[in-house]
Symmetry: C2
């Protein structure tokens, strides 16, 4: 079937705070073909990605994403892969934001295909079953160690046996202060739960500074030490990984193509590779990384800090992998992301989650929420309107 329409929507909270919370706005994509509708979200600055969607061509390697999507056919997984390849081939230079834009569109195409075939995406990818996963609560550190302790206690009470703390004060107030937060987190969740720490790239490429946190991390028996460095600082990851056989490194959310994730495995020495399908290029590219990781004994983990539709999209690529058993679960998303889907992926009584066995993403988008948070946007070049917020 021919793609009939592709619409990008910029959604946002009435107020956006200067904190490490990616759920404050969203770039939502809707694709239609043959009466079917698919939805996807990109983890991207909405306005910047909208510009990459419709920007006038600069040269043959710098097409807007729209040039490679409109008018294409979609009848099979091969068609989705072909469209993604076409975007990469036409938009690989000077319009790097297009990698993120592609991600949202590609997910919407998979969702659309799932609706057409009446199958969940993980089945279209070739998995026979969707393994249940252990969700970890992903939260920001408290401003004080006492706050972190209380957060940990509360989350454990909610039934989570795996918790990740990150960002906020970490790395900003010295080694001692960080240790206090780490020990408070461990104390709050108990010795029998999984604890992960997210550095939020705070040490950029400073291996010594990142290494100073290793004793506390090791003592608190953390499962992984995430993103101490900038996403691209492969050599720093590699050096730190050789110093810390006890605490495994994690990273990958900044990978905007599968190569970068693969290099983080090969040269960065991570034990966990964390992929956001809304960033790396979509579900197909995330699936490629999941297979690559599996073959090398590295655990694939989703990166999701936003909506449950984004969560479902991020679960599809490793749904069938038994050894990749832990999954990021957004705990404190803003109301925009809470309201975006009608149904949710709930944490069940045994603390596990089940990936939907319904067509496509398996969750229904709440059109009322789309309308509620929609931001009216217009881009005009040389007197011509290239983008105007579409009707929901």
């Amino acid at each position: 079937m021919k793609i009939d329409s592709v619409d990008l929507f910029y959604l946002r909270m009435p107020e956006v705070l200067d904190i490490g919370d990616g759920s404050q706005d969203a770039l939502l994509v809707r694709v239609t073909a043959g009466g079917f509708v698919g939805w996807g979200e990109a983890e991207a600055s909405p306005l910047t990605s909208i510009a990459s969607w419709i920007a006038p061509m600069s040269h043959s390697a710098c097409h807007p994403v729209i040039d490679s999507v409109m008018g294409e056919n979609i009848d099979s997984p091969a068609d989705v892969f072909a469209i993604a390849r076409k975007v990469r081939a036409n938009s690989f230079y000077a319009i790097i934001q297009s990698d993120l834009t592609l991600s949202g569109i590609e997910i919407a195409l998979w969702d659309l295909l799932g609706q057409m075939k009446g199958e969940p995406i993980w089945k279209l990818l070739g998995y026979k079953t969707a393994e249940r996963k252990l969700p970890y609560a992903s939260v920001l550190f408290g401003d004080t160690a006492a706050e972190t302790l209380q957060k940990a206690i509360d989350i454990r009470k909610q039934g989570f046996s795996a918790i990740k703390f990150g960002w906020g004060p970490f790395g900003r107030f010295g080694v001692e202060a960080d240790a206090e937060h780490i020990f408070a987190a461990r104390e709050g969740i108990g010795q029998d739960a999984h604890l992960m720490i997210d550095g939020g790239t705070i040490f950029d490429e400073d291996v010594e500074a990142a290494a100073l946190r290793l004793p506390a991390l090791s003592q608190a028996n953390v499962l992984w030490y995430e993103e101490p460095f900038a996403a691209a600082a492969l050599s720093a990851y590699g050096e730190l990984s050789r110093r810390t056989p006890q605490v495994k490194l994690a990273g990958g959310e900044g990978a905007h193509n599968p190569h970068q994730a693969e290099h983080l495995i090969d040269h960065g020495g991570v034990g966990f590779v964390q992929i956001d399908t809304g960033y790396i290029g979509g579900i197909g590219d995330a699936y490629r990384v999941a297979q690559y990781a599996k073959a090398r004994g590295v655990q694939f983990v989703n990166h999701t800090f936003t909506s449950h539709s984004a969560l479902s999209a991020s679960l599809q690529p490793f749904a069938g992998l038994k050894d990749s058993w832990i999954t990021e679960y957004p705990m404190e998303p803003k109301s925009l992301c809470v309201e975006l889907t009608v149904d949710k992926i709930e944490v069940e009584s045994d603390g596990m989650i089940t990936i939907p066995d319904r067509p496509g993403i398996g969750l229904e988008i709440n059109l009322a929420a789309v309308k509620k948070y929609l931001v009216d946007t217009e881009i005009k070049v040389a007197g011509k309107v290239l983008y105007k917020t579409p009707t929901v």
Copy 2:
């Protein structure tokens, strides 16, 4: 001095063709402080980069570039480095286009500082002298081998003793056809000239396909084999570099931060690292790569396919390095890029070029050309105009 204004201009040719020619549009940046004016160009989709300049903040890691530049002070090289670091720290996630936008702004800041201090940028970077460089003519392959031959003859006649052919038909019509082009190029320029071949990323990550071209490249005694693969395909570069001790690989123009260029040296095995200051983050980041390359016996080469102001900006980071003696020289830029500067970096009678020993970039921007090619652009979000083409 406090930065008074930063203006981004979208320039473009009346007609933009779907060919591998990056000189058909430009993102020009003007910065003013204390009555001084600096100019820079980013190698970027202008509209997409303008969006990344003013996009509403998404979260603490996804600020628009403007948030880290306006209101800052600029009195020394350290201030330029500090502003660049601030942009990277505030805009590293989900707004990846900002790396390119930063590049144009950072160059304009160096130019401004040069005007303030009355010094060329290479002196501000610490170089005592600017070495003369051998310019190579950088052109697209002809559509046929006969056309490539004629182009090579013509360029040699113009006084060039180093020529690079790339893009166009290369990699699209089989190994034989490519060999014909390569041999035609060699025949046209003569045995005593330097010949380089640019694959234009045509083989993506297909090492076998790229390797099939090695015999002809070796027989034609090419100096380097450039970008056979996608910029991010490090492993493919690494594998091919181990197969071709005779023909050195080159790459790096796709690096949008210094890490990527350094990894191409460390893991990709390139013998030449090609950096565009308008892409990698500016002159400071390019300088970092130049020093890194020098320490590892790798030649630093500029990537420049556009204007002479972009050429001068790309020459500054390795101006003082004797061992990095060859430089890309744009041969067929569109009139926009020809007219953008009042003066030029001319090829001298001995076939060499001299880096300007004048304040800043050392070339004067032609305001009439800026006005002539200016594209009227407006971005409106939630009823508010966030960007409107500034007055020249």
